[in-house]
Symmetry: C2
Subunit: 232 residues, 2 copies
Amino acid sequence: MNSIGRIPDATVARLPLYLRGLDVFPVGGAATVSSEELAALAGVNAAKVRKDLSYLGTYGTRGVGYDADFLRFEISRALGVANTWPIVVCGMGNLGRALANHSGFAERGFPVVAAIDTDPDKIGVEIDGIAVYGPSALASVVAKHDVAVGIIATPPEAAQGTADRLVDAGITSIMSFAPIVLTVPDDVDLRAVDLATELQILGFHLHRSRLVGGADVSGDRERDLLVGEGPV
Amino acid sequence: MNSIGRIPDATVARLPLYLRGLDVFPVGGAATVSSEELAALAGVNAAKVRKDLSYLGTYGTRGVGYDADFLRFEISRALGVANTWPIVVCGMGNLGRALANHSGFAERGFPVVAAIDTDPDKIGVEIDGIAVYGPSALASVVAKHDVAVGIIATPPEAAQGTADRLVDAGITSIMSFAPIVLTVPDDVDLRAVDLATELQILGFHLHRSRLVGGADVSGDRERDLLVGEGPV
DNA sequence: ACGAACTTGTGCACCCATTCACAAGGTAAA
DNA sequence: TTTACCTTGTGAATGGGTGCACAAGTTCGT
């Protein structure tokens, strides 16, 4: 199955992990990597790696493995990371500031080009090199910088309003850190990350294991990644 | 069903959402909530709510719904949130500081009681009310505050060492924000959250949807900016 | 007391993802 | 060339999760 078969959601969620794993091979190094090695680098098992990659095409060589550079190129192409998707961060509180500064975003093709906040003391200034605008400037900021993704890091009570404004400005990809359910049109892609929820899941297992006196009752815990809900 | 049947992982991951949804009902308000309402509050569908709750027990009343207070109590009990699980944050960079300050953690029973960093300028001082210690103090900090969860917000190259030290100190629940695969013993519960990975998943859909408009499926339109820059 | 209108709890069918197991294809050395 | 040994790619089995559809149980109005 070549170029354009449907790629399962679970596979899409793992592609970035493979790409990340390939970072250990220098670009242009002509290295080959087996599904077993890549599995270790990405924290999954080898069968999954092979099946996932088979959805993209037949890029490996039997008896040898995958060419690291070529694989990197193909996964990048599938993910569209050759593109750069500018981000606007909404809400410059603790979390917003940390996200706006997060070097890992720009490195992966998601530069933070602007921030939005309602605090008059922040509007018009630069925080850590990021220009902060008021909510009313959102549409023009989006147009000017060709913003593709909005991050919501506002207090929960402002989150829905912020989402509405992002949608009005034409944004179709939103990542929210607000601990509430947001309503957006069907054509908007929303991923919600609730850090407290993640901790509570950890807490559940903690609770269980301490109850029993040590052994992890819930079968064996393992690998996780997570998060978010995918719409279309 | 009954009290302690195995609760599916997918259900455990949603219980915190239900709990969060129940926040709209004042404590002691004697309100009842239907699966439909709770579904809307949690962002899932009603059938899932009913099935999930049935794993905890039969807490609803047919024709009526669920008693909000009772349901809150039972979900809390299942999750073990009646307990308080102290947290130590490792790495007080941008993200670490934001997490250490995040009010949502303490509200949900996960107070940040200490922080660890290697920077001599930070060790021994308080940052936003959180005492910062050096790595060597980890074991004593864990013992003294009865720390149950460790958060890794260090640079990627320090993450594995930090994980090892947390494990040595007796921590069995770890949440990592470092973009690498961490190796921990089987009895340690590890949740990895990679924010850049999340964005790349959004990027995949963006890429796909924008391709449909443009006539080129060959993927030539993209700038061939490189692809895998920074090493680990 | 009775029927209409609700809402839960759950059996069941379906779907997606994971994992196994192996044939197909490739390398290397004698 | 032949043999021994790798590793991919993929049918097929397995397992978990989702959602439908409906019987069972409750409330309310008449």
